[in-house]
């Protein structure tokens, strides 16, 4: 038997194209509200699995060992994901979509909470499943909630800090204008004035939202609708645009992610830096750091007072498909207890969600940025809480980037953001 000659090119091309594009397929189909799943197995106890990204500073394993020693019949197994946030997200989506009962408790990034909750994958933490949120910082609870219901218990938090050069700036600026006024000091010392993270990626969403929120604007209103066509939002984004234009933010900051901006600051090239708490340890201990003894920390500058940081951090959520929800809930409660929170802070440098711990002498001695971080988190605004977060962050990144590069005025960029976010929510 012989294949007709003319078919061969078609077949060859087909096989080649198939094998090369097959990797791009997505998984799983539609969704439905998980009303019945959310009612099931509420009282059931037994062994469960905890899913989290790579345990880089080895905090989760000791805690699980401690739990297992106390609960021999309800042992927790640790399922460790990669250390890439996108991969963690996609792994959770795949397993929730497949209704995998082995994903009992999952660590959820604050920006995924709304999406997972709207898909009906997370057990609402109310009634029988309620947890005690007393003592937790308000913005962290907000970030774990969707439509007024708590879906994920805050476990660790994170906020932006303004790092500055104590040797050059005696008192840190409280407002953005004050900081821009100090940029002449930077010029005298032949260095850049301010930088954050302005490459087109998630970090730009963080920085642009902070600029907008700090000036009194907001990305989304209370109903989750975009609210960017306001003078406040424009003033906020314009602060960054202007700073780029007059060189107060050095031009190369358009390529900065967290690490690039940290290196520039540590090399003495920046007077002010907006970054996360992790910079403190590295900037004070790394041998090459030129700012070891002159590192100052303050809350982000705002319009009249402290600025509104974007909120980072992780929460623990119970899957609606879990077979042992009573155990899962107990484990979540265990994670947010003071003792474990302290362990997270000392061992993993994770910011606690309990307000009192920020005044704990022992902790502050170890992590001197805690008082500043508390101000930052107390004034923080969660990044837009919306089930369409990927589309919203894309709209913010692309348009803010164009504005910062001077390709369009802040006002047009915001109105394009507004329109893009509107189309994201209209797809039903």
């Amino acid at each position: 038997m012989k294949t007709p000659r003319f078919l061969l090119p078609v077949a060859t091309a087909g096989v080649l194209a198939l094998s090369l594009s097959a990797c791009a397929g997505g998984g799983g189909g539609g969704t439905s509200g998980g009303g019945s799943d959310a009612e099931a197995n509420l009282d059931s106890r037994g062994p469960i699995t905890y899913v989290q990204g790579k345990d880089n500073s080895n905090v989760v394993r000791p805690l699980i060992e401690k739990w297992n020693a106390a609960h021999p019949d309800e042992k927790v197994t640790f399922k460790e994901q990669t250390d890439n946030a996108d991969q963690q997200h996609d792994d959770l989506v795949q397993n929730f979509q497949a209704k995998n009962a082995d994903y009992d408790v999952a660590s959820v990034d604050v920006v995924w909470t709304a999406e997972f909750a709207a898909k009906g994958w997370l057990q609402p933490l109310k009634d029988k499943m309620a947890i005690d949120t007393k003592g937790m910082l308000e913005p962290t609870i907000e970030a774990g909630s969707y439509k007024g219901t708590l879906y994920a218990a805050p476990v660790s938090s994170d906020g932006g800090i303004l790092y500055y050069r104590k040797d050059l700036v005696p008192t840190p600026p409280k407002t953005w204008d004050e900081m821009m006024g100090m940029c002449s000091i930077a010029k005298q010392n032949n260095m850049g004035c301010y930088a954050g993270q302005f490459k087109q990626y998630e970090g730009l969403t963080v920085n642009a939202s902070e600029a907008i929120n700090s000036a009194g604007g907001s990305v989304l209103d209370k109903d989750g609708k975009p609210s960017l066509n306001t003078p406040e939002a424009e003033a906020g984004l314009d602060n960054l645009v202007k700073a780029f234009k007059d060189g107060n933010i050095p031009a190369e900051a358009i390529t900065y992610q967290e690490e690039e901006s940290r290196r520039a600051f540590q090399d003495g090239k920046l007077l002010f830096l907006r970054n996360w708490p992790y910079v403190y340890n590295l900037a004070t201990t790394e041998g090459s750091s030129k700012v070891k003894d002159v590192l100052g920390m303050a809350a982000l500058p705002g319009k009249d007072g402290p600025g509104a940081s974007s909120l980072g951090g992780h929460s623990a959520a119970v899957s609606v498909y879990s077979d042992h929800k009573a155990t899962s809930l107990d484990f979540v409660k265990f994670l947010v207890e003071e003792e474990q929170q302290k362990f997270f802070a000392t061992q993993g440098s994770l910011a606690p969600v309990l307000g009192d711990l920020y005044e704990d002498q022992e902790l502050v001695a170890k992590l001197p940025y805690l008082p500043v971080l508390k101000t930052s988190i107390e004034n923080a605004v969660p990044r837009p809480v919306t089930p369409f977060y990927p589309a919203v962050t894309k709209a913010i990144q692309d348009n803010a980037y164009a504005a910062l590069k001077g390709e369009k005025p802040a006002k047009d960029a915001l109105s394009d953001m507004q329109k893009s976010i509107e189309t994201a929510g209209a797809g039903s």
Binding site: L8, P9, V10, A11, T12, A13, G14, L16, A17, L18, L20, S21, A22, A24, G25, G26, G29, G30, T31, S32, G33, D86, H89, D90, A117, A118, K119, G120, Y146, K147, K199, Q200, Y201, E252, I254, T255, E260, A264, D267, F388, P390, A391, K394, A395, I396, Q397, D398, N399, Y401, K405, D416, M417, K419, S420, E422, T423, A424, A426, G427, S428
Partner: protein, 345 residues
Amino acid sequence: MATELGPTPVKQPASGAAPAHHGPKGVGEDNRIASQGRWATWLLAPTVVALAIVIVYPIISAIVMSFQKDAGLDPVTGLFTDGGSAGIQNYVNWLGQQCAAQGGGTVACPPGTLGGQFWSATATTFFFTVVTVALETILGFWMAMIMARTFKGRSLVRAAVLVPWAIPTAVTAQLWLFMFDFNGIINKLFNVSILWTGSEWPAKWAVIIADTWKTTPFMALLILAGLQMIPAEVYEASKVDGASAWQRFRLITLPLVKPALMVAILFRTLDALRMFDLPYILTGGANNTTTLSILVINQIRQGFNSAAALSTITFIIIFLVAFIFVRFLGANVVEQSGATGKGKK
């Protein structure tokens, strides 16, 4: 019943009483062909099943999904609901760069949506493909000509050349990201201050440079294999006839290496059309470096069904390119051995 698994040694062992298959010659032959066919079926079955599971099923499922609407939000409960059937709307939206409008219908996608990037991503993908494959072919040919000569340490050079190809692309991209940093080695070395990943053309060239560095060795080795098929006598004869080096290259090397070259170009082209890691890590798709693959991956996070439609469109584009290569440009991937017997048409 005695069957034979494939070709058996011709010589029967001298010892042993009656050979197992002893029938008349004709009958034995028939049996053998029939049973060989059956065996072939059994031996091929696992491969066919495996291919069906890993390639055919995902493709068909992706195509089915592409005709479904993405989940929408129930305004009352705030929960996602099934989108239902979409017909060909997903495809229409991509090709026409239309996005869903509030209150039904569609509007032209505003800047900052994935939908508004389809044609620019297609153009970017083809731009990268044409430029990188052209550069890689020229440089690869040159490297292959050098490696084809006999010189001391030739095998070391051949092995060393493969190193860039052997490094995972994601790692390569991260290395180049460091080098293209504003304070990185490239700006220092040439004493310039270019924002490599921060403006359009430098960003495109950064991707092209990194990709060329990585995949030229692949081209070089495939072309080298083709060069080594050319018998040395042909060159000797042409030298005797007084052909110049350029004539030898144009009239002997090029035509004889063409089959291998076409296959190499075909593979590289299809590979370049699905470029993802390099621009994704270097620029995150900013500055007009978003390729179709980046668009698909980003869309997967925003809605599977629309992403399925986009990956089907990408598949068709790659298919067409592959078809053009195989049908019209004579990139002979499958028939290589069979065709040589028939000679030139």
